[in-house]
């Protein structure tokens, strides 16, 4: 449904105040005027380096903190206006996060059964005529794990890829419609990265799950998502169809990001005198991007670029 986006982020800003012991307080603008829309069953990638605000943006949408300005609408309803725990629980049910570290995001003292049974019971996700056991089995099958083998295992008995599947299953058990995946594959081995991406892709196409995919890896973003937003310094510098951004990046920072992706076909051939040219260039782009206050301009249908 293009006319009614599932997620709408409108002019969101967030400023953190850092108080240090010796010097005065310092303001960090983590998010500045972030706006985008995301249709049901679509995926959007937030791409940028550490500290670009991409994770902060994801956490804001998950309702993990209050934003300073702007509004976030999920399915047409503002999450910032949730007053009581019932409304907050409803929001939490629709929007779930999957974190980067599959080792830290599961409780080591509990079995897979416990991790999945809790969301199912707390959010009353066992329909009449079904049992908790049946729902557990169904949830595990959704993420392509063998229920008989998995249910009574502890997290340390699972591989990284299996743990990340459990994290996805946990989000599905709550009944999530929007999953915010914060670098879900970056701590996994290359050889199993693709299988997790494929699983997310199937959840998207078969189950209509909407994904906000946070990453610094443009190749996987391109693989999974329809649209990509490139972030730097708390702002979106370029937004548009993932394919167009990868083929023809417009903003200097997007170009820098893209040129840094390891490409097996180009050798790094640096003599010592020129080894740091790339670094100098990168620093210049960063400084210029951070200094620019220009707004986003639409350069083609659905493509926005901030003037350099």
């Amino acid at each position: 449904m293009a006319d009614q986006p599932y997620l709408e982020v409108k002019g969101v800003s967030k400023t953190y105040t850092l108080k240090t012991i010796f010097s005065g307080s310092k303001q960090v603008k983590a998010l500045q005027d972030i706006s985008f829309k995301l249709g049901r069953g679509e995926a959007l990638a937030l791409v940028g380096e550490s500290g670009s605000g991409k994770s902060t943006c994801g956490r804001a949408i998950a309702g993990m903190f209050d934003i300073d300005e702007g509004d976030i609408l999920v399915n047409g309803k503002s999450i910032t206006s949730a007053r009581n725990s019932k409304e907050k629980r409803e929001n939490a049910q629709k929007v779930q996060m999957v974190f980067q570290d599959p080792f830290a995001s599961l409780n080591p003292t509990h079995t897979v059964r416990h991790h999945l049974a809790r969301p199912l019971t707390l959010h009353k996700r066992v329909p009449e005529g079904s049992t908790l056991e049946q729902e557990l089995v169904r949830t595990l099958e959704d993420v392509e794990l063998e229920p008989d083998v998995m249910l009574d295992k502890f997290p340390h008995e699972l591989s990284g890829g299996q743990r990340q599947r459990i994290n996805l299953a946990r989000a599905l058990a709550v009944g999530a419609e929007l999953i915010i995946a914060d670098e879900p594959t970056s701590m996994l081995d290359v050889s199993i990265r693709r299988s997790i991406l494929n699983l997310m892709n199937r959840l998207k196409t078969d189950r209509g799950i909407t994904f906000l995919y946070i990453t610094h890896d443009l190749a996987t973003a391109h693989y999974l998502t329809e649209n990509t937003a490139v972030m730097y310094g708390g702002r979106i510098v370029e937004y548009g169809p993932s394919d167009a951004i990868v083929r023809d990046p417009q903003h200097p920072y997007s170009q820098l990001l893209l040129s840094s992706v390891p490409n097996a076909h180009t050798r790094i051939n640096a003599d010592f005198e020129h080894a740091r040219d790339f670094s100098k260039f990168a620093d210049r782009v960063r400084t210029e991007t951070a200094a620019s206050t220009a707004g986003l301009k639409e350069i083609a249908a659905g493509r926005f670029v901030r003037a350099a």
């Binding site: 995926a43 380096e49 550490s50 990284g160 081995d189 290359v190 050889s191 199993i192 990265r193 693709r194 991406l197 494929n198 892709n201 998207k204 196409t205 610094h216 890896d217 443009l218 190749a219 996987t220 391109h222 693989y223 999974l224 998502t225 329809e226 394919d243 990868v246 820098l256 990001l257 040129s259 840094s260 992706v261 390891p262 490409n263 097996a264 076909h265 180009t266 050798r267 790094i268 051939n269 640096a270 003599d271 010592f272 005198e273 020129h274 080894a275 740091r276 040219d277 790339f278 670094s279 990168a282």
Partner: protein, 269 residues
């Protein structure tokens, strides 16, 4: 190829881990060599034994791991015959090590300079003033303002920390540096910056590199030869060009296929 061109020569290296169910062989008879001034990439997934090899080469492995067979010859010397004293003096001056996580490789309660000075003093017996001169030289070399020597590790960015670790690995002008996933914890842009830095330094000083990573694309940008490791065994060794254009082993092909690239058909149906 004559023996003297080989800086590092591994023959039938076997490393076991003692477990409750008896020994587990993590490295199963590996033959591998690195020539002088060569960059050898070692690729494989976690748990395949690639880091175990790196540790064993410098005899940094700790129980329950032990070397149960094979020989390690570095610069014509039998590393397995060294006593503790010789080892302590040999490590860092002949072969040094750069770890994945620069934050963990640096001591958080010592300034950058103190970490340089410790190594320099221990190995050369020089005093603080001489160490300062050497440390400033090295900071210049990796492109960081020498004034940052008096900072603590947490005051530097991830990329700067990795540069400091690199500089520290170079302090005694080793002939080989083992790099265990030196860029994995970094962003793509910073990763590229560090890689350029390593390539530049390697050209300037001509040391050999054993470069361990699971990112084949990154490795083929930089390595001369690549060895592919699977479950404790080397399954394919070839020039970077051949590994890229003409992979022979099924596992090498699988590793290539595992990485989504921009040429992939859209995953979106």
């Amino acid at each position: 190829m004559t023996q003297s061109e080989r800086f590092l020569d591994l023959k039938g290296l076997e490393v076991d881990y003692m477990t409750l169910d008896g020994p587990f062989r993590a490295v199963k008879g590996v033959d591998l060599h690195i020539n002088r001034g060569e960059v050898l990439g070692l690729a494989g997934e976690s748990g395949c034994g690639k880091s175990t090899i790196a540790y064993a080469l410098m005899r940094l492995h700790r129980p329950p791991a032990f070397i149960s067979g094979g020989t390690i010859t570095i610069d014509g010397e039998d590393v397995l015959s060294f006593d503790e004293e010789k080892l302590a003096q040999w490590r860092w001056s002949k072969v040094s090590l750069v770890f994945q996580s620069a934050m963990n490789a640096l001591n958080p309660v010592l300034t950058i300079f103190e970490q340089f000075r410790d190594v320099y003093h221990r190995h050369t017996g020089e005093d603080t003033a001489a160490a300062r001169v050497r440390a400033e030289e090295l900071m210049d070399l990796v492109g960081i303002d020498p004034a940052r020597l008096d900072d603590y590790p947490h005051q530097l960015s991830g990329g700067m920390r990795q540069r400091v670790v690199l500089a520290n690995a170079l302090i005694l002008e080793p002939q080989m540096i083992i790099m265990d996933e030196p860029t994995t914890a970094l962003d793509v842009v910073v990763q590229r910056e560090i890689l350029q830095e390593i390539a530049g330094l390697q050209k300037k000083f001509g040391f050999s590199i054993l470069f361990i990573t699971h990112d084949l694309a990154l490795m083929s940008q930089f390595a001369d030869r690549i060895a592919i490791m699977l479950q404790g065994e080397i399954v394919e060794v070839n020039s970077a060009h051949e590994i890229l254009h003409n992979p022979q082993h099924d596992y090498t092909k699988q590793l290539w296929d595992a990485m989504p690239s921009f040429d992939d058909a859209k995953g979106v149906a």
